[in-house]
């Protein structure tokens, strides 16, 4: 077992342990923190695959963006003494069953799939290429998804402004 494998096993262990902890903890902010570790370890995996751009995106978007937003909203709504409602045994069992079934299907699929282990050619991913791919309409181009996502984000932004906008009658004239 060499250094790289150790690294992989370590990251995988972190992901698995903290994934379980996310769903088993009874404090919502702790769950968010465990989720952060899961996401960071995933970023570590990307980095391990020498896919730095993806790792940075993972950290910036998921860890730095989404988890922060989750934590921020938890802060606004939850007091420190709030605890999650404990789940009944039948529901727990049901959840375990479904999760186990899902895991089984995945594992069976992975084991049965004949992975093509031909060495992939080293890909130099620099920013210029990513940018060109993003606005490219041809092969390997992502112009359409890019634009669709932009419109989605715009809609989300407008929606957020509409929700956050103060109602005229409610304004305290501050």
């Amino acid at each position: 077992m060499n250094f790289h494998e150790t690294f992989f096993i370590l990251l995988a262990a972190i992901i698995m342990i903290f994934s379980v902890l996310v769903v088993t903890t009874d404090k919502i902010l702790r769950a968010a923190t465990y989720l952060l570790f899961v996401l960071l370890a995933t970023a570590g995996l990307y980095y391990w695959l020498q896919y730095e751009f993806m790792a940075a995106v993972q950290v910036a978007l998921y860890a730095g963006g989404i988890v922060v937003l989750i934590v921020f909203s938890v802060l606004l709504t939850h007091q420190i003494h709030h605890k999650l409602v404990s789940i009944t045994l039948t529901r727990k069992l049901l959840a375990f069953g479904i999760a186990g079934l899902g895991a089984l299907v995945s594992i069976v699929t992975i084991v049965n799939y004949d992975f093509n282990t031909a060495p992939a050619e080293a890909m130099k991913v620099d920013v210029r290429q990513i940018g060109l791919h993003l606005v490219n309409t041809g092969h390997n181009g992502f112009a359409l998804p890019f634009e669709v996502v932009s419109i989605l984000l715009l809609a989300a932004l407008i929606g957020a402004i509409t929700i956050a906008k103060k109602e005229e009658s409610n304004s305290d004239n501050i």
């Binding site: 060499n2 250094f3 404090k27 902010l29 702790r30 923190t33 952060l36 730095e52 751009f53 940075a56 995106v57 950290v59 910036a60 860890a63 730095g64 963006g65 988890v67 922060v68 937003l69 934590v71 921020f72 938890v74 802060l75 606004l76 420190i80 003494h81 991913v125 620099d126 920013v127 210029r128």
Partner: protein, 358 residues
């Protein structure tokens, strides 16, 4: 002249000859880790000392002058004091998160230091997405502050954390956008490439007014992102006693303190690297004599000279201006910095396309 990579290459070759590949990786990791940890600690102590002296001179005082010559050992003495202090725990605090929070803050600030090019070849990791990496890691620091505020079970802390969250989330936009201007000029996010691109002049001179505007915005926004100066509403001493770290004591408090100073160093160093040429000496094309004199000064001196000048400016902000109110802080970002920045980005894109720069 003055190339650190020769030294690091020599060490690497030496290790390769004597050990197998896994051991080389481990030994190098440990070496780099130790080096950067030491540098981190020394920089932190220097910055705290510098802040004390700067604010003392601004305020017609002498500053620390008892421990060691010129009070140089004062921060060391304080660190020792903080190490020995009792770690207080708040009743009903979330112990796990309470203890975790300072580490998140400190690790986030420490991880970014490695990507900075201190001198030619003196860089722990030269990612091809260096700037993006730094931006993404700095966004983690706020999590530590949020967790610290919430887990302290204190109302002041929670308010501080909420303020900090709102502040950092919004100011990150301005920081990224102002860095984007230089990315557009160089076409690369690799910090070493950005520095190399300034061999014939720093971007702040090459890029005229648009770059100067983004430099100013970066300075303001990054000051805000480090919770410092007039933007320290998260710990607003006169309003929230100490904000998110009200309940922390001893070394855990020292971590927050250290992280704040290192973030300040980071933003100054980033501004120096991206806008002021990093370790590149000051060159004026056509004056060969001057250029050679400038080359004679080691790059590491250039880097730290620029960085500490900017740190002085950031400290001057803190000790001059009154604190902004929380809504004014957001107004400043969303009504002033961001629109100006967006317009500026378009202008820069135009400049880049037309090639109107040196």
């Amino acid at each position: 002249m003055y190339d650190f990579s020769q030294l690091t290459q020599a060490i690497h070759l030496f290790l390769v000859q004597h050990l197998n590949s896994s051991s080389v990786a481990i030994v190098e990791l440990v070496l780099v880790g130790l080096l950067f940890l030491t540098m981190y600690a020394i920089l932190g102590l220097t910055l705290v000392y510098m802040e004390r002296k700067v604010c003392a001179f601004i305020q017609n005082r002498l500053g620390p002058n008892r421990v060691g010559p010129l009070g140089l050992l004062q921060t060391v003495a304080d660190l020792i004091k903080l190490l020995f202090k009792e770690l207080l725990m708040v009743k009903k605090a979330d112990k796990f998160l309470f203890n975790l929070a300072p580490f998140i803050v400190v690790i986030a600030s420490m991880m970014t230091i490695g990507a900075l090019p201190f001198a030619k070849g003196f860089q722990a990791i030269d990612l091809n997405i260096g700037l993006f990496y730094i931006i993404s890691i700095t966004s983690l620091g706020v999590l530590g502050i949020l967790l610290a505020g919430w887990s302290s079970n204190s109302k002041y802390s929670l308010l501080g954390a909420l303020r900090s969250g709102a502040q950092i989330i919004s100011y990150e936009l301005s920081v990224s956008l102002s860095l984007l201007s230089i990315i557009m000029f160089t076409g690369s996010m690799q910090l070493s490439v950005i520095v190399e691109s300034q061999a014939n002049g720093w971007w702040i001179f090459k890029g005229h007014i648009p770059v100067f505007i983004s430099f100013l915005i970066f300075l303001i926004a990054s000051t805000a992102e480090t919770n410092r100066g007039p933007f320290d509403i998260a710990e607003a001493e006169s309003e929230l006693t100490a904000g998110f770290h009200t309940e922390y004591s001893g070394i855990k408090f020292a971590f927050f303190f250290l992280a704040e100073y290192m973030n300040m160093f980071l933003s100054a160093a980033l501004a120096a690297t991206v806008f002021l040429g990093g370790w590149m000496p000051f060159h004026v094309s056509g004056f060969e004599g001057l250029n050679q004199v400038m080359d004679f000064i080691p790059p590491i001196v250039w880097f730290f000279g620029k960085t500490f000048t900017l740190i002085y400016v950031i400290m001057l902000f803190k000790w001059t201006f009154p604190r902004l109110r929380v809504d004014q802080l957001l107004t400043l970002e969303w009504k002033y910095l961001l629109p100006i920045n967006l317009v500026n980005t378009i202008v820069i894109a135009f400049v880049v396309v037309m090639g109107w720069y040196f």
